[in-house]
Symmetry: C2
Subunit: 308 residues, 2 copies
């Protein structure tokens, strides 16, 4: 049985940049039952042990079945099913494949999603995660230790060993994104790595961006306004910047979210329950700026669906 | 990297009808390095234990990912790679998937290859194996015991339990084949199950059949001639029948094979080494009629490639 053509979101970014965390909240908003989530790590060619033996990095494009990934997303876009390979991060090895059908939305997240032209052409919206390097390294080490069974030393080493590969293969994908998402520490909180971070979305003219002015204007000039627009430059080119303040209060976040939700199509999401969640080690925490980012990207996806 | 569009042979038939045995010799003739062999059993949904629990049969179309199979063959036909699932018959369970690229020829063999229209449309040539029921049951029980770890009782039971399913799902595929291949016992050898069996190929007008008359006429009227043509009826419809005698001598088989090989394109196969092999229990034996059958089907495939 074939279904309607799904909307496909690509999330790329370096290891530890928050791809899965971002995706999880978007899935919650859109509705887990209508979202298919594909993690590109499942398309690794080699197990952790094999990579160690041969001194290959999972970051290298040749260490991933990007051709199979492309053909799988194409099949899902067409409405067909796939047998998705499965990589188990805990064991660093493969498990049996899973039968996967396309939902109304497909989220594809991973290191190399925008690596080649054929992959880039598949996505309806491309988001690149580009947090401050300090944050990404902290997040990655925390995650590798608490969730992937690495020792502290192994985790630190991985960051170090990957730097060159990352510069060569991951960073160049940034320029192909429609939206670059940057989390950064507010000047007054140099040690912050969690819920109080500011977020900035760079909006490139490669997709039609929804009219956010409505959202901001309905809450005009108030100190309570946690979203703001400015013009800025990115690699020399003028861009729109959407700023989300890190020190939002819950009330403000909720009233802003309500305005966004009210602007969504009728059949769309009605609640932000389950958004903004992230893990600090093994502890689950909540970030309001993250929640708003997830809501805004979901807003994009619903607008894309509406305008198809 | 994309390659030239391959020629795709489908082989269908009941469990134990000789699909793999037939395919192996064809692969030898065409050249293993340019053939991709897909066994549909790899697309089972459930392990043997799961099937036992739920009392489902691997013969049931719903117990196989026929949608994935179709999308995989389509991708191979396009020149792309697939991650093929793997079912291990010895263990009756799945193994990790394999990365598979298309060769110049693709052979897809299994129980349900012609089950639905979309599958049938993929093949350039469709062969249905329809040996005498007595032979098929004998072959199946032998195979299940010696190669798949069944007890004698289990193997006999399987044949019995499968009869209804087989009539419902396997047998109806016969009518969709371009060639029906029938091995049968000569009247004077009622106990024969191996190398002395006669073979008969029913040639339906659904594909353009090569001009076999050349092959036969070059060896006219001689007692040594082991191939002959007659007209016949199949389910009431007139058809061409190609008969291969079971009691061929090696010399005759080799001279007939030489005529066929000489009629093949220059870049084609030049030897029948490795053909006609089959297993009786764990012992490898050779059948000349089987070898000629494999050569004739390879002849078809090369003619199809030439005329593409």
């Amino acid at each position: 049985m074939r279904r309607a053509k799904p909307i496909i979101l690509g999330i790329a970014g370096d290891s530890g940049s928050g791809k899965t965390t971002l995706a999880q909240g978007i899935i919650q908003i859109l509705g887990p039952e209508i979202v298919t989530n594909i993690c590109i790590d499942d398309y690794h060619k080699y197990s952790r042990a094999q990579r160690k033996e041969t001194n290959l990095s999972a970051l290298h494009p040749d260490c991933n079945y990007l051709d199979i990934l492309q053909s799988h997303i194409t099949e899902l876009r067409r409405g067909g099913a796939i047998l998705k390979p499965v990589y188990d991060h805990q064991r660093g090895d493969f498990a049996l494949p899973e039968y996967v059908l396309p939902g109304s939305f497909i989220i594809v997240e991973g290191l190399l999603g925008f690596y080649n032209k054929k992959l880039r052409e598949i996505f309806d919206l491309k988001v690149f995660l580009d947090p401050e390097d300090f944050l990404r390294k902290t997040w990655k080490v925390q995650r590798d230790i608490s969730q992937r069974g690495y020792s502290s030393e192994e985790a630190e080493n991985t960051v170090y060993r990957r730097a060159e590969m990352s510069a060569r293969y991951i960073a160049p994908q940034r320029e192909h994104a429609d939206i670059v998402l940057n989390f950064y520490r507010p000047g007054e909180l140099p040690q912050e790595t969690g819920s109080k971070l500011n977020a900035k979305m760079i909006l490139r003219p490669t997709v039609r961006h929804p009219d956010f002015s409505e959202l901001v204007e309905e809450n005009p000039g108030s100190e309570e306004n946690c979203l703001s627009f400015t013009l800025g430059r990115d690699s020399g080119t003028p861009v729109d910047l959407l700023h989300i303040q890190g020190n939002i209060r819950q009330n403000t976040m909720e009233s802003t979210a309500k305005i966004i939700l009210d602007n969504l199509p009728e059949a769309g999401p009605t609640s932000i329950a389950g958004t903004g969640r992230y893990l600090e080690g093994k502890t689950q925490k909540t970030s309001y700026p993250l929640a708003l980012t997830q809501l805004l990207i979901s807003f994009y996806l619903h607008k894309l669906k509406l305008n198809r």
